[in-house]
Symmetry: C2
Subunit: 128 residues, 2 copies
């Protein structure tokens, strides 16, 4: 029974934005997108599976980098059009730039400033 998937309000492209928040730290790691199949698989496998809008295919987070997200909780908002995941971030790196999370640019007086260190070399992470 996947009736719960019908309660999600998929957008015109059949997608829903998904926020990944780290268990414990409460850090917002990233925002990505899921289609129906991605959300079904995420709930089933308890590992985050997103939809890559650029590559137009399912994207098992960490399949290349090893930085998988173990899903502890899945929530839906009041309008049914946004999903919130509570995750355990394997490797401690959610961002493809090698940072802990994707929101590393902060708005200051002179524009966006990078305020988070690179923890892992992306070239090593992706075996380039």
């Amino acid at each position: 029974m996947n009736d719960w998937l019908d309660e999600v309000k998929w957008n015109e492209a059949g997608l829903v934005p998904v926020i990944a928040q780290e268990e414990g730290s409460g850090r917002v790691l990233m925002l990505a997108w899921m289609n129906r199949e991605a959300l079904r698989l995420t709930a089933k496998e308890k590992v985050a599976v997103y939809w890559s809008r650029s590559r137009r295919k399912l994207w098992r987070k960490g399949e290349t980098s090893g930085n998988r997200q173990r899903v502890r909780e899945i929530r839906l908002d009041c309008d049914g059009d946004t999903v919130l995941l509570t995750v355990r971030q394997e490797g401690g790196v959610a961002c493809h730039t090698g940072r802990h999370h994707c929101f590393y640019r902060r708005l200051g007086a002179s524009g966006w400033q990078s305020v988070e260190p690179v923890i892992k070399d992306p070239e090593v992470m992706y075996g380039r």
Copy 2:
């Protein structure tokens, strides 16, 4: 100078998804959308101003309910297509249903279950 607004990757509708996270608790309160003007005003006034996709106009969060969001920090993600706000939520209620935040439905064995209490009566909140 609003050059920093040019670094945001607006979608085909000229919008960007914005996550509001509560200062202190780390709670993810809601996801809403901003256009360029909404983000400019939010940065200038330090109060969250969103774009209502249903009403197709700027929406000063709390203009009716009083539940304004004081903005402490504005962040941009690696791809430049998602904004994260750190906010102080006035009135302690971010959701139009009268709950502290919008992600009050949790996925369980029998589907989505409401797991957060209503703190304020929406009818009182919106003066209906």
